[in-house]
Symmetry: C2
Subunit: 158 residues, 2 copies
DNA sequence: TATTGTTATACTCTATAACTATA
DNA sequence: TATAGTTATAGAGTATAACAATA
């Protein structure tokens, strides 16, 4: 690269492997920026490891909530996960289409839909959980046990 | 848009006041899940505090990189931020349309576009940085100084 | 009237392919 | 041929409004 910009002084550059010529010092000091970078890299890597199942992260989240709360109402799943009701409908329909869960009317409140895993849903969720454990270990392998615990605890407070 | 003040914003929503009746124990133990929850809540809160400027987070990131690297090429900004070239074009065009930066052809390589902030861009970026400082302090007010430092350091390693 | 779920819609973010103009 | 930028497009995530059935 032949074009040089004006000397910016004594800007220390840590180990940045992306675009070594460009400074991002202000952004690097922001928790919000780092949080989004880490989350995006984590999630895209996870999505790749789940590709052959046909499930995305949100599908696995739903299956996990249904497993822990058999007979939970669809709206409760959405509230627990922060997914709007309008977006829960197609997601749950997809999972039902894959025969991973069944939806039935709640007879004590016929507005509500009750959700339960099928055997296939339980089996696939078990498989996904194993992948998730592998992925978390791999993605966090550069962190000490203490750092992982601190990270989880601190993220809960944000 | 004339004089811009720093907004104090609305109440923060933490991850602790969602659906107490539904168990999410498995997800709660996953760093990937907590990371995404924290990042989403952080970013949506930040977006709200920026709404009246007409800028989104990615716009501010671009302005910040241009400020730190006057005369940087458009493609370099994208590489530094992890934004694909195809997506940089409309983003930079938006900022140019707001008269926050100017694009000129690099005469030493006429394929490339060189970007510089206008006075209005410098002024609005200063305002945005003040908002960001307020937002980071408020979003992380429950963390100790040591926790913030650990969080930043650990996020860099993911 | 309020709530559950559904449909339609829209905007952002991300990613890819095809194109131009320069190198 | 390769690179910088542009345009078009598509999938995923997120959000709101309008609606039907039920409470």
């Amino acid at each position: 690269m032949s074009v040089m910009t004006v000397d910016k002084g004594t800007a220390l550059r840590t180990s940045e492997d992306v675009s070594p010529g460009v400074s991002t010092d202000f952004l690097d000091g922001l928790v919000g920026y780092r949080l989004r970078q880490a989350s995006n890299s984590f999630m895209s890597d996870f999505a790749a490891s789940m590709a052959d199942t046909g499930l995305r992260a949100v599908h696995v989240s739903i299956l996990s909530v249904v497993e822990e709360n058999p007979g939970v109402r669809q709206g409760e799943i959405g509230r627990a996960l922060g997914v709007a009701r309008a977006n829960m409908a197609p997601l749950v329909a997809e999972l039902e289409g894959m025969r991973l869960l069944r939806r039935t009317t709640d007879e004590s409140d016929r507005r509500a839909v009750i959700v339960r895993l099928t055997k296939a849903g339980e089996a696939l969720l078990r498989n996904c959980k194993a992948r998730i454990e592998v992925h978390e270990r791999r993605a966090l392998q550069r962190l000490t046990r203490s750092e992982k615990e601190t990270l989880l605890r601190v993220l809960k407070k944000i």
